[in-house]
């Protein structure tokens, strides 16, 4: 295996080069992070006039709250569904698009351009699509006999949210998977064709293992997406309705902090999220960077 590290001995130059980057991280990440940790130990009155140091009271309130538990559960299920379907669908589309010989670029363009739509705009588009009066998708769904009511039914609202989130994320995954597929050399695929008659089996024994690094990387990206980047979608589509059933952990930080003005509780939730991100990063380093390697 190649030695990937470059060694500089004792020269200050590399440190000077990374100073701007470090400054940016310090100002935009470390300082707010410290603020969040600090605030999570404080109890502040809604007007911001006084605050008291309360040790772990915010965390105690948080972890004994049934509402936070259900939010966490919803977030995990939602995340799992979004990651699974957006990766699966993107992989399927990429494999199909890669085997198309004529007009491949048209397929690529069609499947990619949703990526350029901002989350909030995607949310509004979806809002119209699912609108009770003018929504095309709403019409289709009700025509199947399903009394679709995302405003009042938690399950329906979740389905809608998952659907839209997957739709928004598929293009990113598609681009990466397609690039991965095109990185597999033609003669390798041909060698496999000679060795294995079943296309299905070839996919799972040759193509998929070769895509594994891409898939692992995308999984981390998608988890981050489902946790953090779906804020805009939720805010335009459901705002956590009905009754907080579609509130994710990140959306709850916003609700409790900005709408409920409970800065301490909101900060405690941020800290929980930071720990989760930390774990995800460790996971990425352990598996993605080390294991999936040949």
């Amino acid at each position: 295996m190649l030695l990937k590290r470059v060694h500089f001995s004792g020269s200050p130059i590399p440190y000077i080069f990374i100073v701007p980057q470090l400054l940016i991280i310090a100002v935009f990440f470390f300082w707010p992070a410290c603020q969040a940790v600090y605030l999570s130990f404080m109890l502040e009155d809604p007007w911001g006039l006084s605050s008291t140091f309360v040790w772990f009271e915010n965390y105690q309130v948080l972890f004994s709250s049934a509402e936070y538990l259900s939010t966490t559960l919803f977030t995990l299920v939602y995340c799992a569904l979004v990651v699974f379907f957006s990766l699966g669908l993107a992989l399927l589309l990429a494999v199909k698009a890669n085997s198309v010989i004529h007009g491949q670029s048209a397929y690529r363009l069609l499947l990619t351009w949703v990526y350029a739509v901002a989350p909030a705009v995607a949310g509004i588009t979806a809002y119209f699509l699912f609108n009770r009066h003018i929504g095309v998708l709403f019409q289709w769904i009700t025509q199947t006999g399903w009394a679709f009511a995302p405003e009042t039914n938690a399950f329906d609202a979740s389905v809608m949210l998952v659907l839209v989130s997957v739709w928004k994320q598929v293009p990113v995954n598609f681009v990466f998977f397609l690039a991965g597929l095109q990185g597999i050399s033609k003669s390798l695929r041909e060698a496999a064709q000679l060795d294995c008659a079943s296309g299905f089996r070839r996919f799972w024994t040759i193509t998929f293992p070769l895509l594994a690094p891409t898939a692992f990387f995308l999984m981390v990206i998608n988890i981050t997406y489902a946790f953090f980047d779906t804020f805009g979608l939720i805010d335009t589509l459901t705002q956590g309705r009905p009754g907080g059933a579609t509130t994710t952990m990140v959306y709850k930080v916003f609700q409790d902090g900005f709408l409920g003005a409970d800065l301490g509780l909101s900060s405690a939730q941020s800290v929980v999220l930071m720990v989760l991100v930390l774990l995800l990063t460790v996971f990425q380093f352990l598996f993605v960077e080390r294991r999936v390697h040949y």
Binding site: S185, L194, D195, C196, A197
Partner: protein, 354 residues
């Protein structure tokens, strides 16, 4: 009945390019056939149609008496060795070799036995648990060979398997492939544009040009009696000298030279005279002589290539003289040749006159 029979194979690509235009070959069991030809002549295309990686537009392919041209590649019982080896990077050497057998439902014990046997033949036993990225080019080449051998197929197909290796390794692997093929007795089709490889490996050589076979025969047959100007120029290094001349009543005129042939072909008119560089001699015991003006000397060690002109002839002529030729020797020289080593072609059709 041949082990591999190609009948009237045509291949036209989707863009209308006719890569193969009517090829007929019958290969005996255990025979080593080499397809040789210039770049883009369609040799890879032909090989890939045999493998089933390209569909043929017309014709029939029979392997061991079975018509296979509509079968999937994996169903044709052939194994192919690719130029860039095409090893599965995520599998160990062992798994690379076992993969094809495993997919054919061979039991684990038989697989293990076959893989170990092939690894023994190819001196790969110590590398079975390595990944392809941890092997040298030559070792990867062997694994690719091993992957073909363990399958014990009806035929091996090779598409320039040695062109990614350095010159020395190429010679070594060439010999190993030949020995291995002999001992296994597996019918083989080998594509190359390297004529040394072609001459040394082939039981039979097919010279391909622009999608058709110009000539097929044993390497020496092709070297000694090329049927067309193309074949004559393609086989042999440096290439054969071609001089334009006239044949009239058994008298051959080349520039200022005029010689009477002992066994002239029945032909009058413009001819192309072919004479190999190694068939020009300095010794006077050969029948005919040429005055030769030296321009460039290329010492090769054992031999010297001498480039120059024959008076009255436009084309540059090259002679391969044995031993070193002193650089300060006279710049004019008389070279000798034999009638038997002359190749005469009709200038209009470029076909051999015999």
């Amino acid at each position: 009945m041949g082990a591999l029979r190609l009948t009237n194979i045509h291949k036209t690509y989707a863009n209308g390019h006719q890569a193969v235009r009517g090829i007929n070959i019958e290969i005996e069991k255990g025979e080593f056939l080499v397809l040789v030809g210039p770049s883009g002549c369609g040799k890879s295309t032909l090989l890939r149609t045999i493998a089933g990686l390209e569909a043929i537009s017309e014709g029939e392919i029979h392997i061991a008496g079975q018509r296979v041209d509509t079968e999937a590649p994996a169903k044709r019982d052939i194994a192919m060795v690719f130029q860039n080896y095409a090893l599965y990077p995520h599998m160990t050497v062992y798994k690379n070799m076992a993969y094809g057998l495993h997919n054919r439902g061979v039991d684990k014990q038989t697989i293990d036995q076959k893989v170990k046997h092939a690894a023994g033949l190819l001196k790969l036993t110590d590398y079975l648990h390595r990944k392809p990225s941890q092997l040298s080019g030559g070792q990867r080449q062997r694994v690719a060979m091993g992957r073909a051998i363990v399958r014990d197929p009806q035929a091996f197909l090779f598409d320039e398997p040695l062109s990614n290796l350095d010159a020395k390794l190429r010679v070594q692997m060439r010999n190993e492939i030949k020995t291995l093929q002999r001992s296994l007795g597996t019918t083989s089709v080998y594509v190359t544009h390297d004529q040394t490889e072609a001459m040394t490996l082939a039981d039979r050589l097919a010279v391909v040009n622009a999608g058709v076979i110009e000539q097929m025969g044993s390497p020496m047959e092709i070297y000694e009696r090329p049927q067309t100007v193309f074949v004559a120029g393609f086989i042999g290094s440096p290439a054969m000298n071609f001089l334009t001349g006239r044949l009239h009543n058994g008298r051959l005129e080349i520039g200022e030279l005029s010689i009477v042939l002992q066994q002239p072909p029945r032909f009058d008119g413009e001819v192309i005279v072919g004479l190999r560089p190694e068939h020009l001699y300095r010794q006077a015991e050969h029948a005919f002589s040429l005055p030769f003006q030296i321009e460039v000397l290329e010492p090769l060690g054992a031999d010297t290539l001498v480039w120059g002109h024959v008076s009255g002839v436009q084309e540059t002529v090259v002679a391969r003289l044995s031993r070193a030729y002193p650089a300060d020797a006279p710049r004019t020289l008389t070279l000798y040749f034999n009638e038997a080593e002359l190749h005469l072609f009709d200038a209009a059709t470029e076909q051999r006159l015999s």
